[in-house]
Amino acid sequence: MPQPQQAPEVVAQAIDLVKVYGSKTNNVVALDQVSVAFARGSFTAIMGPSGSGKSTLMHCLAGLDRITAGRVFLGGKELNALNDSQLTKVRRDNVGFVFQAFNLLPTLTARQNILLPLDLAGRKPDEGFFRQLTESLGLTDRLTHRPSELSGGQQQRVAIARAMITRPDVIFADEPTGALDSKTGTQLLEYMQRTVRDLGQSIIMVTHDAKAAAYADRALILLDGRIVDDVPQPTADSVNAALARLER
């Protein structure tokens, strides 16, 4: 029986989002009236040339940076209405991050790094979920190692585990495969895709690699701070075609 058509729940949303960097005299409009919504349980890729505003959009959606105008919602909260300590709490409880590099604290072991967000929130870890996560990421025998003793791929997997451990509304990933070789990168993307399919985790990923975008359910194309294209079920080819259209 097919499910009745129903509007999917929105997990993150920007309405007329404007972000301007710099001083009054010398400013850069990084995001120009961006309106976009992300469905819960979806995997979205944000693409575009360098400097188009991908990272900025992600930072604004995740509550990492203040916006200049417009509204931003995440997991039902309006972020632009929150103060710094409330935002901090949102980041801790509702959001997970995977950055391109430098994801981990060098003084902590892999296990401690993964549990850090729960630790900061003063929450008890769910040992079952922890085991399931680390097993599925193949980290079980690396948990007592420190980041300097892990390979780049292992470090990124630790970062993903850390992002997932709080069961956040959204995981934001900024070029998570940027510093990895292609085989390791592929494994990571496959894992992220499985997470979305099997666990219903929402992921928003910034990438400039069309092959990476192909793992997502949807690809947004940014140019000069505006969303210029929205490619559903992207493939490497369809994304490359969309990017090629920008050249004209």
Binding site: T88, P106, L116
Partner: protein, 819 residues
């Protein structure tokens, strides 16, 4: 070489500010000492100069062989003498109300020779007037026409003079008539000891000096000349020489403390350079990759060290001047202007640059280990998990074993205990400081286990503190050294005090003895305690037990008292009774003589057997019957009492000293008094040395700020990551605070333990060598120690404020940026 260095300093002032402060404090200490002492010296010399401003030649009397009139007549008979006069000066207490000033009193000189002006009123006339400098009149709270007393004599203030305020030289003026009366001599008129001569125009002072050669001719018998004749200039030069010797001695003593501050400063500077170079490994690698030789790289850093040293030293000189200005403002010498001892300052700046360079040399040398590849390697974290070398462990163990061996020798050998204890202290110090990288991280981790239970913030903090053992060790070592020295002094002082006090308790168990000194002669009334004194003592608080002893003075003026049952309350070791013809005396006295013969009431001689007893204190105690044979009419003669709280003797002392104003022959003695004196002297000495060593502690604490500040800079990304992961700003600050306190505590704890051991060792060795055969009462002054620990911890907490702000300022987006 320097332009690069200056650019680096200008671009990253935050990185070097703590180092600059450390250098500035070290150099500032030295500069303050030089400038202050030179200013004082200059002030004194100028003040003296001022007083002889009108005189060109001084004649100083050595013997009493001519009258003033003769001397003056002789001087005036010489060609080129425009004016001459005798000058008197004496010391006298001038008081009003509770204020007493000891003034240098001058007979008012005549117009020609006057060095000050009367700004209000007039110069003193007759024998009951006095002129005072304005500031002293203010201190005494008198105006012109007011009354002060000079010794016993009432004086009217005739005028106020414009003498500059000074703590060191305070003048007053009285009429020549009065001063010659005060300095009694033959027929109540003493000859002056100085004569002032003004030389006429066209004559040189030297010419006048040589024309007065007959005054300086040597006596045939004694080989001494009756007068000294010198130009004022020469006399002032002599004065200056004497002053300089005194000032220099003080300067060198203070420079010992400056040396300690410098040593601590060097540790901080070396640490800074190690960190700076670690942080710039990529930059160095890049330089090497583009073809810079290691010596070119080194030159850059040497240039930076020199620029830093110079800058810090100059700041230090400014700081020193500020402190010296404050100090000489307090003493009043600031009036004469601050000194500019450029030679001292040049040397001090040189020392500042040199120690910076020396401290930086080892870290700079290591830059050669940075490979060009370093530039290409992504840095995951700047902590170089260096293996702590085995060599270090072995050397430090050997030093420690040798040190402990010497300690044992020092405490058992017959000779040279102190020398060996000193050697032992040095060896152990080197071992403990040298081995710091081996144990500091462990201590921090242990402490981390403890505080880590409180949550992730403190766990992260202690992990951060321990992540770079070398750095943590260097930071802690600076504190260990500074705190260790202070604790050595504190524990030493406390131990000496406790030991001395328990000795006093044994020798003089009676806390306070109040009696009267026998005024001499067979007047027994003279030692009977007045009723007011007894009443006063009865009203004193803080008294546990007291005994009023009957007694009196013998015919030859010895005070004897008789034992009574109450004595046992204040001196528990006192016997129940004393046999006839036996006197209890102090152990010292009993050692010298075994009997004492005293005149009895009926004129016969009575021989007493002397018996040592602590209960006797400094006096002589007999039984009632014996007393009656020695003293005609015994009266209550001595009040003995025991205090509830000996430490609070000061209060008792104050009340008793009110009595001694009324009864000049009141005798106040007893153990509490001696204990009080010893405690006071030790406290003052300890306060001064602690304050001087405090400079080293301050530098060590700057080191804590420095380490944190630099670590935070290299951990910007981590801080940002923590913020992105949901750590609130306050928690980041708290993390730095805990890190600071952790570093400080490790240094303080090791410093306290080592310091306490050295103090115990030192005093034991001194006692051994001095052949003092009594156990020492090892004591730690917990109050002072805790205050010191508290200051260190609070200061470390304060030191974490700026680095903490910096860490908390990291925006979460910085974690994502890739450089």
């Amino acid at each position: 070489m320097f332009s690069d260095a200056i650019r680096e300093v200008r671009h990253h002032p935050g990185r070097i500010v703590a180092t600059l402060i450390a250098i500035a404090i070290s150099v500032g200490f030295m500069a303050a000492v030089s400038v202050f002492l030179e200013t004082e010296k200059g002030g004194l010399a100028k003040q003296l100069n001022r007083q002889y401003a009108g005189a060109d030649v001084l004649v100083q009397r050595q013997t009493q062989d001519r009258t003033d009139a003769q001397v003056i007549e002789l001087i005036k008979s010489k060609p080129g003498v425009a004016a001459a006069e005798a000058s008197w000066t004496t010391f006298g207490p001038v008081e009003k109300g509770d204020t007493t000033l000891y003034l240098q009193l001058y007979g008012t000189p005549s117009e020609t020779f006057r060095w000050s002006k009367v700004v209000e009123g007039a110069w003193p006339q007759g024998t009951d007037e006095i002129a005072l400098p304005r500031d002293l009149a203010k201190k005494l709270d008198v105006a012109v026409g007011g009354e002060v007393s000079l010794g016993e004599q009432k004086m009217k203030v005739s005028g106020l003079t414009d003498d500059p305020p000074s703590r060191l030289i305070q003048n007053g003026y009285i009429s020549p008539e009065l001063i010659t009366m005060m300095s009694s001599g033959e027929d109540g008129k003493a000859p002056a000891n100085t004569y002032l001569i003004k030389v006429a125009d066209g004559t040189t002072p030297d010419a006048v000096v040589s024309s007065l050669s007959e005054l300086t001719s040597k006596d045939a018998n004694t080989g001494e000349s009756a007068f000294r004749v010198e130009t004022t200039e020469a006399a002032m030069q002599d004065q200056l020489k004497e002053l300089t010797m005194g000032v220099d001695a003080l300067k060198y003593a203070l420079m010992v403390f400056a040396g300690i501050a410098l040593l601590v400063g060097m540790i901080i500077i070396a640490n800074t350079f190690t960190i700076l170079i670690a942080q710039r490994r990529r930059q160095i690698g890049l330089l090497r990759a583009v073809g810079a030789s290691t010596s070119q790289v080194r030159k850059r850093f040497i240039g930076e060290a020199i620029v830093l040293g110079l800058l810090g030293s100059l700041l230090g000189v400014a700081l020193g001047y500020a402190i010296a200005a404050l100090g000489s403002w307090v003493t009043g010498s600031l009036h004469w202007g601050l000194a500019f001892p450029w030679r001292d300052l040049l040397v001090e700046i040189g020392v500042g640059v040199l120690i910076t360079l020396l401290a930086a040399l080892v870290p700079i040398w290591r830059t050669s280990r940075v490979a060009p590849l370093e530039a290409l390697r992504p840095v995951l974290s700047a902590d170089s998990q260096k293996r702590v070398s085995k060599v270090r462990a072995i050397i430090c163990t050997v030093l420690l074993v040798l040190g402990i061996g010497l300690s044992v020798l020092a405490l058992t050998s017959e000779k040279n205990s102190v020398l060996m204890a000193l050697g032992s202290a040095f060896l152990i110090t080197f071992a403990v400081l040298g081995a710091a990288p081996l144990y500091v991280a462990l201590l921090i981790k242990g402490w981390g286990k403890l505080v880590g239970l409180t949550g992730p913030t403190s766990r992260l903090a202690t992990m951060n503190a321990a992540r770079n053992p070398q750095r943590a060790a260097a930071t802690a070592v600076a504190l260990m050294l500074a705190i260790g020295l202070i604790i050595t002094l504190q524990v030493g002082a406390a131990t000496v005090r406790e030991t001395a006090l328990s000795q006093i308790e044994e020798d003089m168990p009676v806390d306070v003895v109040v009696g009267l000194y026998a005024m001499g002669g067979p007047d027994e009334e003279s030692v009977a305690l007045p009723k007011e004194v007894i009443a006063k003592i009865d009203s004193l608080p803080n008294v546990r037990a007291k005994a009023l002893l009957q007694g009196g003075a013998t015919n030859d003026g010895r005070v004897i008292v008789a034992l009574n049952p109450q004595v046992k309350d204040v001196a528990p070791m006192a016997p129940d009774s004393i046999p006839d013809d036996v006197a209890l005396v102090s152990a010292n006295m009993a050692e010298i003589q075994s009997t004492e013969t005293l005149p009895g009431v009926n004129g016969e001689m009575i021989t007493l057997k002397l018996q040592a007893s602590p209960a006797a204190g400094d006096g002589m105690v007999v039984n009632d019957a014996t007393l009656r044979r020695l003293v005609k009419d015994p009266q209550p003669a001595q009040y003995w009492f025991d205090l509830v709280d000996r430490e609070n003797f000061a209060n008792t002392q104050r009340q008793l000293s009110q009595l001694s104003a009324e009864y000049p022959n009141l005798m106040i003695g007893g153990g509490a008094f001696e204990a009080y004196l010893i405690t006071q002297i030790l406290n003052i000495m300890l306060a001064i040395t602690s304050a001087l060593l405090g400079v080293a502690v301050a530098i060590a604490l700057v080191g804590v700020a420095n380490t944190l500040g630099l670590s935070v800079i290299e951990r910007t990304r981590e801080s940002a990551l923590l913020r992105a992961l949901g750590m609130p700003r306050v928690k980041l600050r708290l993390m730095l605070l805990i890190e600071a306190i952790t570093l400080a505590l490790v240094g303080v704890v090791v410093g306290v333990i080592a310091g306490a051991y050295f103090a115990w060792l030192g005093i034991s060795a001194v006692f051994k060598e001095a052949d003092i055969d009594r156990g020492i009462n090892f004591a730690i002054d917990w109050q002072r120690t805790l205050v010191l620990v508290g200051i260190a911890v609070v200061a470390a907490a304060i030191a974490s404020i700026l680095p903490g702000r910096r860490a908390a300022m990291a925006t979460p987006t910085e974690a994502l940026a890739i450089d």
